[in-house]
Amino acid sequence: MADHTLDAKGLNCPLPILKARKALKEVPDNGILEILATDPGAVADFEAFCRQTGNELMEHSEDDGIYRFLIKKSA
């Protein structure tokens, strides 16, 4: 489903955001970036990141300490 997956597990603030920004460059407009992270702070941070950059945080979930985010790149 995702056009690109970023494994940010084990990385701490602000690396998941910085790597997501770089990974988004690899994603086509309206494409989807999947991010896997273990930093609990990433939830609030990806919400803020998406509000600021205009990309859409389609969903986020948590399973056994792994956070999963789907971000749709704005055109």
Binding site: C13, L18, A20, R21, A48
Partner: protein, 162 residues
């Protein structure tokens, strides 16, 4: 990607390992969020632009610095920080802890800042005072003074002094 057209500047005045983090974390994150960012390196912040970083920290005068150790949090009495080798050991512990917790190194954050085209200004007066030259520094910094910074600050939405 849309930008809110906000911008940020940071005056970087401290160059110990711990104090190097806030400016580089905030600069790289703001740049990732689409903000043009300028960092102005002055006084003890200036050596953060040197090619070779060997950042140190000290627990001297810092009662809040407590490291997690064997289930507790351990501080260091000021007197002990005067013992040769203690600061180096604290620095090593902090760097190990950071690596273990997935915290980026300052070198890594600085590379990301350069890559994100964060504007780096080296304070000319501090360069002169501490006898540094641009050849000692990484590629990218420009020279400037207080007026250069103030012009940036008047155009920035967020101005931080760290």
């Amino acid at each position: 990607m849309s930008s809110e057209e906000k911008s940020m500047s940071i005056i970087v005045t401290k160059g110990s390992l711990d104090w190097a983090y806030p400016p580089f974390i905030l600069a790289t994150t703001a740049a990732a969020m689409g903000l043009p960012v300028t960092m102005f390196f002055t006084f003890y912040g200036l050596p953060l632009l040197l090619k070779d970083l060997n950042l140190q920290l000290t627990a001297a005068g810092n009662p809040a610095m407590k490291m997690p150790m064997m289930g507790a949090h351990m501080g260091l009495p000021n007197l002990l920080t005067a013992v040769p080798g203690v600061d180096a050991a604290c620095t090593k512990m902090m760097k190990n802890l950071m690596a273990k917790k997935g915290v980026a190194s300052i070198e890594e954050l600085r590379d990301l800042a350069v890559e994100a085209e964060v504007r780096l200004i080296a304070c000319q007066m501090t360069m002169d005072l501490f006898e540094y030259s641009l050849e000692d520094m990484i590629e990218g910094p420009e020279l400037g003074g207080a007026a250069t910074y103030i012009e940036v600050a008047t155009e920035s939405d967020i101005n931080l002094f760290i």
